[in-house]
Amino acid sequence: MYQNKSDYDRGVNTFSPEGRIFQVEYAMEAVNLGTTAIGIQVEEGTLLAVEKKITSSLLEPQSVDKIMKIDHHIACALAGLQSDGKTLVDKARQFANQHTFNYDEPMSVEACAQAVCDESLKFGEGKKKNKMSRPYGVALLLAGVDEIIKPGDKPGEFSVTRVPRLYHTDPSGTYIRTDYKAIGAGAEGAQSMLEEEWHKGMTIKQCEELCITVLRQVMENTVKETNVEMAVLSAGPGAIFHPYTTEEIKGIIERTPEQKL
């Protein structure tokens, strides 16, 4: 038995006497330091919005991407350590591609979330090569669209329904399916706002405006097209993943009325 708490938070292989693994909890804290990311799911699709911190006027805003495509029907927004996020997203891309290679069909969003969580639990102290020595310090909002094919009554007839999905994964390797979720520094405020405003029948247009309103509340800087990134995964016909251009984001910001505090 070690004497105090700080003796238990060094190794990731050891539980503390209270049954906690501190490194995992610290990793979750790392997420709370990250920029705010929001995911909203409605019947029409799923919307992702992320705050971008532009630390210098010399920084090219387009070079910071916090919403990343995983497959043609899955994308994710992340909060926490960006570099960990890139590694995890890279793995997720591999899993999605592997699934398509193996089974000749797109991976379901839930299976992707499960694969990501399996990956983020592969940490520990040991001699194993290519193994993470610490938990990933990143949380993901996995958004996507599942295609459900059902045969009709007559042979040859069938129907395809596209169902939007939103999953949240965290460094402890848990995933949950939600209708809306905020992660990162402004998560608490944003989550309570979403709780008030969200309803199932919202249109994508309304969601876009809600995202901007929420971000205005939780961001320190004024919301501009350069410091916000948005993307939609639409359940309608045509392409599923659509990242918004700066012009589109500018348009959304302009049409969203400023809320009085």
């Binding site: 193996n102 089974y103 000749d104």
Partner: protein
């Protein structure tokens, strides 16, 4: 070295043959399959024989049910196809857990191809037919070679009697090279009378089972490795039926 060169060429080959490792044995047997309007039929005999005239078993199944909509039939080496069937069933089960749904027929077809191709340089000695109902409710049959090349087909036959059965199915099921008016008389059962848009008769499920049986009867007449019993699977939207029929036992 000198000695070796003095040995005649043929004898040297013989010498080498003696010590050669033979990993394969053909346990033979015939599998066939075809699709109808709303069903897929897959059938195989149950004989397991070795390379000579011996019968190792008369009651060996070559068919496995992967899901309620997918059936796999395999001829070739028994040890190899038994393992293959176990592997595909394991993968289908894991797919069920990971993805919380049944594997689709096209997914299973790709999976089988991958398993076979993964053994590209020490192939699994198995010739497969995979059939069932796909995601949109249509019957589909896939046929394979030993290293995973596969394709959709309306009729298929593999195994020792495959070459005998294939043209038979072409003629009876697909009615290739025939006039539409000529009705085959290979079975005493009632013959199909309703005709599809192309003028070719639509074969009802009950008759399809008899055709599958008769095709195996025909194969067992000419091929000594085919016989004993016919195991016939019919896959429809409702599920999988299994029928047993007798074949020649000699």
């Amino acid at each position: 070295m000198m000695m070796n060169q003095l040995v005649p060429h043929q004898d040297r080959n013989k010498e080498a043959k003696k010590n050669e490792w033979e990993p394969y044995i053909d346990n033979a047997g015939t599998c066939l399959g075809f699709t109808g309007e709303d069903y897929c039929v897959i059938a195989a005999d149950t004989r397991c024989s070795n390379d000579s005239y011996q019968i190792l078993s008369r009651h060996v199944t070559k068919i496995t049910k992967v899901t309620d909509k997918i059936v796999l039939a395999t001829g070739g080496m028994r040890a190899d196809y038994c393992t293959l069937h176990k592997r595909i069933n394991y993968q289908a089960e894991m797919f069920r857990y990971k993805n919380k749904k049944e594997i689709s027929l096209s997914g299973c077809a790709r999976l089988l191809s991958n398993i076979l191709y993964n053994n590209r340089f020490f192939p699994i000695y198995a010739f497969c037919l995979l059939g069932g109902i796909d995601e949109i409710g249509q019957p589909v049959l896939y046929s394979y070679d030993a290293i995973g090349s596969y394709g959709k087909s309306k009729v298929g036959a593999v195994g020792s009697g495959g070459e005998l059965v294939e043209p038979l199915l072409d003629s009876i099921i697909l009615r290739h090279h025939r006039q539409a008016s000529v009705v085959p008389t290979i079975s005493n059962e009632e013959l199909p009378t309703t005709r599809g848009e192309d003028g070719k008769p639509i074969i009802p499920k009950g008759i399809a089972i008899e055709y599958a049986h008769q095709a195996l009867v025909a194969a067992s007449e000419r091929d000594i490795h085919t016989g004993d019993f016919a195991e016939i699977y019919v896959i429809t939207k409702e599920g999988v039926e299994r029928h047993m029929r007798e074949l020649k036992a000699d």
